[in-house]
């Protein structure tokens, strides 16, 4: 009985220590959205300023597309921001990929290669010229692999820290305004269509 209790206590303690720290994120979140906006350039600028204020950055910004990297905690706020800046959200599709397995696998590969590297280097002292050359070649290969894996790990760490948002900006399509008379005479002369079609003609040109 005492043995069982000890095992349960150990299991509980292990569960506490193995759990990731609060707020730790292992998901790579990608949001793809298409929004209708009145002024795509202004919206792109507003999204860039917003993401920079919130610790992220813009990877790409053009008149029809914005790609942002933003801290994963800002994902819920991004949706609110899109609702605020756009007239209509045509489409929004969140996706996420669990990076835990890839991170653990990469870390394990790095560790194992480092162990092999240490063991290989230890052989150098006992090796003859031919053996030294073979060991050097092996060492270079291992160092290259460790560097590549370290880069992969950094990329995975970046992906779990910064989510990605790809936002397509489309011009707002709308119906043509009606002509409603105003009580103020001069306001009746303010008309976009007369302006663009007769702006020159009405002046006798």
């Amino acid at each position: 009985m005492a043995l069982v209790r000890t095992l349960v206590v150990i299991a509980l303690l292990a569960a506490v220590f193995v759990q990731p720290a609060v707020g730790e994120n292992y998901l790579y979140q990608i949001i793809q959205a298409t929004v209708l906006v009145a002024d795509p350039d202004r919206t792109a600028d507003a999204l860039e300023s917003w993401v920079e204020r919130n610790g992220g950055y813009a990877l790409l910004k053009s008149s029809d597309r914005v790609v942002l990297r933003l801290p994963f905690r800002q994902i819920p706020q991004l949706r609110n921001k899109l609702e605020e800046l756009s007239d209509y959200i045509l489409e929004i599709s969140p996706q996420s990929r669990d990076l835990r397995e890839a991170i653990l696998e990469t870390q394990a590969k790095i560790n194992s290669r480092r162990v092999v590297l240490r063991q290989t280097l230890a052989l150098l002292d006992q090796a003859d010229v031919k053996g030294t050359l073979a060991i050097e070649k092996e060492v270079f290969t291992l160092i290259e692999e460790v560097e590549q894996l370290t880069a992969t790990l950094q990329k995975l760490t970046l992906d779990r820290t910064f989510s990605r948002a790809e936002i397509s900006l489309r011009y707002l399509e709308q119906t043509v305004p009606e002509n409603i008379p105003s009580s103020f005479e001069w306001i009746n002369s303010v008309d976009f269509y007369s302006f663009i079609y007769q702006g020159l003609a009405q002046e006798g040109r």
Binding site: A38, D41, S63, Q174, V176, W186, S189, G199, G204
Partner: protein
């Protein structure tokens, strides 16, 4: 017939005076068009910029006329692309609005700007397809700040 000629002559004289009371620096890259009742300038892409004076009747201030114009255009179905923005034109304050409107298969931006004095409402307008407008937006805003009554 003669009875009609005098009022017509007076009206055209008043319009000419009204026009001559405006001094505007054209937006950079625009060509000024002479003649006509209002100040006009055009970009190489055909974007028109027009500034004209109207009587401030009934005599009200900038916020009143800004609100009246905004309400009316909203009622007609114009969609604003941003909140009204204020600007300084010499010692006078102005307000400008940008509207988004469809024409053909393009989205246009239409700028309306107001400067109001005791006697005059100065209205500036500019419109172009979105990419053209954004190219000249800053030049237009610079020109708005240059509008002065000619003394």
């Amino acid at each position: 017939m003669r009875r009609l000629l005098l009022p017509l002559a007076l009206a055209s004289l008043a319009l000419t005076i009204s026009c001559s009371r405006l001094s505007v620096t054209p937006p950079e890259g625009f060509a000024e068009l002479g003649g006509g009742r209002s100040y006009r300038a055009v970009s190489p892409e055909g974007m028109l910029y027009r500034v004209r004076n109207m009587k401030n009747e009934p005599r009200k201030d900038l916020s009143f006329w800004g609100e009246a114009l905004e309400n009316h255009l909203h009622k007609e179905g114009y969609r604003s692309s941003a909140e009204a923005q204020s600007f300084e034109s010499g010692d006078r304050e102005g307000l400008y609005y940008e509207w988004v409107l469809p024409s053909g298969n393009q989205s246009y931006l239409y700028l309306t700007a107001l400067i109001v004095t005791d006697r005059t409402i100065t209205l500036a307008e500019a419109a172009a397809p979105h990419p053209v407008f954004t190219q000249y937006r800053q030049a237009l805003l610079d020109s708005l700040t240059s509008i002065r009554p000619r003394r």
